[in-house]
Every structure is written in structure tokens, then in C-alpha cells.
Symmetry: C3
């Protein structure tokens, strides 16, 4: 059955708001505003960095601990691309690609990966219910990603 025009507009609006949610995430990260990042999650929100060699943070308190680390402006400059979104009422899921410029131990790092996201609309606002991060590579700019790609390959 075809969607009504109201449903279509609701879905389009949801998609726009979800894309903007991921954009705000990036802006707050680059500015080192950890608390503002946490506000983009639901209260029971989860950041799952297991596949990125990072911890899992469940709920506002744990997220706050985790995102404190982004306190320093411009130590992590993330960019979001290739967003795929599936809206189902007040829930949605999606994937998006990540490219980022980082500083680690005083060195320039470059990373590429993806997020698997779950979104939920609460009190009229879309938020992250879960972000699962996976890096394809996170390497010194001088080294490049060829070696990391080789390792991924040999593991798979």
C-alpha cells in the first residue's frame, strides 16, 4: 500500500532530523563539547566501540565519562558520509561512513570506518539509542592504511 502524503513527509522529516543529529555529533566532538554530545543520546543510550578497540558506554553517566575525552578542541575532527536510514515510526536505524582527522601522542592520525546506529524519537526529538563504531583503519598519516587493510584481510 502506498504511503499517504502525511506519512511521506513524516519520513522525510525524520530522515533530515537524523542526518542533522549525526552532523551535530561531529560539531560537538570537534569543539570538544562532551556534555553536548551526550545530550544527543537517549538516557539509556549506548556507545559501543568494541569493534574500534574502545569500550562500551551504557547510559548517560557512562557516556559522560567516555565523551569527556573529547574535551580538547580539534583533537578529533569527524566527517559523516554515505548515510543510509530506515525509519519505522519513532524508531529508526542506519549506517553512515566516518572519516576523521585525529591527533594521538602528538602525531597526525587519519581514520576511516562506519557507524551502525539506532535512533529513537523522544519528546519530539530524534536521539541516538545506540552507536556502534567500527574502524576500517586508524593509522598515522605518514604510515597510511595499506598495512591495516592487509591485516583486516588476513583476519577475514
Amino acid at each position: 500500500m502506498d504511503k499517504t502524503i502525511e506519512q511521506q513527509v513524516r519520513d522525510l522529516t525524520a530522515r533530515e532530523e537524523i542526518k542533522e543529529l549525526t552532523a551535530r555529533y561531529c560539531l560537538h566532538v570537534v569543539r570538544g563539547e562532551g556534555e553536548a554530545v551526550v545530550q544527543l543520546f537517549t538516557e539509556d543510550g549506548v556507545f559501543d566501540g568494541t569493534n574500534a578497540g574502545i569500550n562500551v558506554a551504557r547510559g548517560s553517566q557512562a557516556l559522560l565519562e567516555f565523551y569527556k575525552a573529547v574535551r580538547e578542541p580539534e583533537q578529533a575532527i569527524p566527517f559523516i558520509h554515505n548515510h543510509i536510514i530506515e525509519v519505522d515510526g519513532d524508531r529508526a536505524s542506519g549506517t553512515c561512513a566516518l572519516e576523521g582527522r585525529f591527533v594521538r601522542k602528538g602525531e597526525s592520525y587519519t581514520g576511516a570506518g562506519m557507524y551502525e546506529d539506532k535512533y529513537r524519537k523522544e519528546n519530539g526529538k530524534w536521539r541516538f539509542a545506540e552507536r556502534k563504531l567500527r574502524f576500517y583503519h586508524m593509522v598515522p598519516l605518514k604510515t597510511g592504511w595499506a598495512e591495516a587493510a592487509r591485516e583486516t584481510k588476513s583476519k577475514s
Copy 2:
């Protein structure tokens, strides 16, 4: 004459679906899923890589031969940006920018370029009718793109 609200919503929806089409293309490429990439094209779809020093592939069979090469996960990590789309009923055309991280002969390559796309809606789904790829440069990360830019300039 102004568009009706139905027409506006149809166009907005088409644009969203086309953007997601290019996002899916990237996701399948990075996962090395050549067959899934080909499913995003119409049966008579064309990949034209002439301006990228690659072949032309016309039709599902040729596309399948071509996209088999993306079998290895993370050997090509494409990101799409700057999407411009013109919708005309069940046809559309557009351009989008490409940035990518590649591995060639065991070395880290970085590329930037653009796609000139034609899209067609068939059985309710937008697909690529044609993708023309042009690289501004595709160079080893260690070398950079300055030399490539110089060559483009001397040719033009």
C-alpha cells in the same frame, strides 16, 4: 507554474532515494560485494570509467565482470559528497564528488574525483542508468596530488 505539494513531496522523496542509492554503492564497494553493487544498476546500466583510465562496462553481465574486482573488503573506501540532483519524473541526473582511500600494489592511495550520473526509476526503485567516473587525481598518499594537478593543468 508552482508545483503541487504532491509533486514537491515526490521530488523530495526521489532525491532522498537517489542519495541513498549512492550511499549503498559505497557501502557495498567497501564490503567487497560486487554483485550487490550491480543490483543498484538498471539491467542496461553503464559504468563509464574512460576518464578514469578504466574500461566501460555496459549491461549487467559486463558490470558483474567489472565489479568482481571489488571483492576484497576495504581495498576501496569511497565517500560521496556535494550531490547535485535534477529530477524529471522517473528519470534524474546528477553529479557527486568522490573521495576515496585505496590500496594498490600494497600501497596506500588517495583519490578525488566526481561522478556524472543518470538515474532511472524502475519497479518503484531508483537505480543507476549510468555512472561516468572522472578522477581529478589518484595518487600514492606519500606522493600527494600536486604533481597530478600540474599535469591536468598542462593538458587543459
Copy 3:
């Protein structure tokens, strides 16, 4: 009060047109089409590069002088991401992230930053009323951004 469906569609359309405006900006810059870039601004449009160590250009004539510098194709390849937009009738404001590949004195440069934009709809077309550019860094690819990040930090 909830927005009517007409208002929602108008806002969604505005957002799409504004995103495409920034995409067109990039395409004309990469092609070295300075005059076409200026056409994307209102007559009293402003480019403010103060925070990027560049000049301020106010109005079509000054913008034309400024954007003449992009005459050479592929000397500046900008990509736009993380777009946040607030629409208010025929006015809008927004931020978007910038990544770019540049050639300076024959060397490969890489840059990341952001635009703070003001948009205005005139004669049915969204245009830039103001673009404020700030670079987080603009560095030789060989050098990387770690040093630039350190300097930003010590300044803040």
C-alpha cells in the same frame, strides 16, 4: 503549535536547495569557475575569511575579485559535510564542515574547517548572504595537522 504539512514541505525543500547550493559552490570552485561561484551569492553577499587568514569580500564586485583566484581547475577541491541548517521563512543559517585538497606553491596541502553560513531566498532562489570560513588547519600533506592542532590548543 505543529507545523502544517505545507510548512513542513517548504522547510524540507528549503533545506534541500541550501544543501545543493553548497554542493554547487564546491563544483564551481573545483572547476575554477569564479564567476559562477559569485552567482551563488546575493548581490550584497559577503565572504569572510578573517578566521582563515584571508580577506573579507563584500558585494558582487569584491567577491568577483576574490573568486578569480579559483580560476585554475583542481587547485582547490572542497568537500562539504555535516550540514546543520535552521530555516526561518526566506532566511536561513547553518554550519557545515569543510575538507579540502589544495595545491600551494606546487605542494599538496590538506585542510579541514567549517563554514558559518547565512542564506537568503531571492526571486525563488536560495543564495549565500554570508560565508564565514574558519580553518582548523591547512597544512602540507607531508607535515600533517598535529602541529596545527597544538597551536590552536595553546591559543584557546
